[in-house]
Amino acid sequence: MLDSLRRRPRLAFALLAVLLAALPFIMGFGLGNSWVRVLDFVLLYVLLAIGLNIVVGYAGLLDLGYIAFYALGAYLYAWLASPHFGLHLPFWVVLPIGAAFAGLFGVLLGAPTLRLRGDYLAIVTLGFGEIIRIFMNNLNAPFNLTNGPQGMNLIDPVSVAGFSFGKTLHIFGLSLPPTYFYYYLFLAFTLLAIFIALRLQDSRIGRAWAAIREDEVAAAAMGINTRNLKLLAFAMGASFGGLAGGLFAAFQGFISPESFTLWESILVLCMIVLGGMGNIPGVILGAVLLTMIPEALRYIGDLQRATLGHVVVDPSDLRMLLFGVALVGMMLFRPAGLLPSRQRKREFAAEDGVAEQEQASLYDAKA
């Protein structure tokens, strides 16, 4: 079936569109509304993963503090659209500001760390992520900016032309909770992000990033402005994160520093590495899997009830354990990721020395 579809991309697109449009209804009525909420979070994480993929997958800058940008976007949304400062700007004003704000911080992080590479960069970005979280947690005094650990509540839901996404809609005998509307909103932004990311990959910029990733010295020698391009990668990645953060704040209605821990950064990184770094379908797959698996594992309890009659092993005891096993297992099984990029696949197939790999990637960059 897939082969025949491959020959008819238009049909594939149409089917995909129908499926994506119907997905919340399939999930909602088949499995329950909590799965629509899970879908919403899947989309948010896809957005985050695509953003981080620009930094890590395209430009090869290992970032362990990515969630800081998510936090900045979320807090900016809360500042501009909640009773905290009494501002209630509409979402189409706040979201771009949030993305730009996070992007600015991306440059601020990127600028001093340009000389760092690999694991040094990882630890600095990790520190940056923690610093942002700690500031958010403490800036309730001397001036109450973030309400500290209490978090910011009653953030405005997205509303379009007077229609608020925050309320359940009753229509045609169906009641549609907010999760449905947010699904379509997130889907729109995610598709936009995918489009941008795919276009970027094959653009001049994308190829320059690939060159930097493979060999920074050679890239600089080829006349690539490595400084500006690295900053651009940071800024682009950060603004995707900021956008996701704003959406998260509006969706959740409440944000607190607990949502922006180091663990979240690690999780997003796991998504892109697991799915296949640098390859958008891989990244999406990673985000979908790692968001869904822990939720699906909640059903271990129900499964035991159904098969054994009662709960033998506490599901909460096993859930994270199985998640860890899954991470290790998948990595051992497919070390280049589940859907590796073409280039990576080739690097991986070639057992020969470094030189040939580099040549291959340089040719790739020129192509």
């Binding site: 890590v56 760390t113 760092l116 700690i134 403490n138 920074e216 990184l269 994270m320 998640f323 290790v328």
Partner: protein
């Protein structure tokens, strides 16, 4: 002055523990260029195993002197952690040695999650307290309070570090380790059994981690299945601060980080009039780390790597 001295003591003790754990990170990184995220968890397992042994011994032989019981705990914890680290390396890292660099990082995170949750299943969700077995002698020195345990921790840490340094610099195994760190391929050609050297590195790091784990739980009086994560993170930062891959760097980084945290928490609040108080303790640590790396991109004692990715 007594307050300052006390802060310095606080920082040095904390720093010695960081340094010991950091050694494990730095040794593995030096050879494999891998951030062994599970190392913090190995430390935790060391503490937990030791506490179990201590608990059993206290029940079985209540007359045994406390120091002996703790020693027995350490002596069981060390081989347990060594076996664990050997297993981790063999199962989770070795198959990925030729994989993209981030793949073993993800398995390391996975292993870390697995160990945490296994520990939770075995030892429970509770904080386990360390029984008061060790003598609680306290000294006063210029107004600062120093306990015997603190002195033991620092002395033991310094001894272990010195021993490790000797091992790496003077022994045959140490030479093989250094050779492998420089180039696995060439070391192999020179007759070094690379696999064995890598296993040895993990095992030595784990033994030190086990001791550090017992130290932490004895010092703070508790252990918990979650304790390895933060400790590991701090220790890793210490290793990077000193220059990752460099053993002396890990020691220096650990001690520095400990002192920075203590002095930062103790003084910055007063200096800035309460605006930047001890709630920014971790910020100071990370800030110093970032500052050092910006000016010395490969850490304080790290060698300048040639400009190559």
């Amino acid at each position: 002055m007594d307050i300052f001295l006390q802060q310095l003591v606080n920082g040095l003790v904390l720093g010695s523990i960081y340094a010991l754990v950091a050694l494990g990170y730095t040794m593995v990184y030096g050879i494999l260029e891998l951030i062994n995220f599970a190392h913090g968890e190995v430390t935790m397992i060391g503490a937990m195993v030791a506490l179990s042994v201590i608990g059993v011994l206290m029940g079985a032989a209540p007359d045994l002197p406390g120091v002996m019981v703790v020693l027995a705990g350490i002596l069981v914890a060390i081989p347990a952690c060594m076996a664990l680290a050997f297993g981790i390396e063999k199962v989770a890292y070795r198959p990925l040695r030729k994989a993209p660099r981030l793949a073993p990082l993800i398995t390391a995170i996975g292993v870390s999650i697995i160990l945490q949750n296994l520990a939770m299943l075995i030892w429970g969700r509770q904080y386990v307290s360390f029984p008061p077995l060790l003598p609680v002698a306290r000294f006063e020195f210029l107004g600062a309070h120093i306990s015997l345990l603190q002195i033991v921790i620092v002395v033991l840490a310094v001894t272990i570090m010195a021993g490790l340094w000797l091992l790496v610099e003077k022994s045959r195994l140490g030479r093989a380790m250094r050779a492998t760190a420089q180039s696995k391929e060439v070391a192999e050609l020179m007759g070094v059994n690379v696999d064995r050297v890598i296993s040895a590195t993990f095992i030595i790091g784990a033994a030190i981690a086990a001791i550090a784990g017992v130290m932490v739980s004895a010092y703070y009086g508790l252990a918990h299945y979650y304790m390895g994560f933060m400790l590991g993170l701090k220790a890793f930062s210490a290793a990077v601060l000193g220059g990752i891959g460099n053993i002396a760097g890990a020691m220096l980084g650990g001690l520095l980080l400990g002192v920075i945290e203590a002095l930062g928490a103790g003084y910055i609040g007063d200096i800035t009039g309460g605006f930047l108080g001890s709630h920014y303790q971790d910020v100071f640590a990370f800030f110093v780390l970032i500052l050092v790396l910006v000016f010395r991109p490969s850490g304080l004692l790290g060698e300048r790597v040639a400009n190559r990715a």
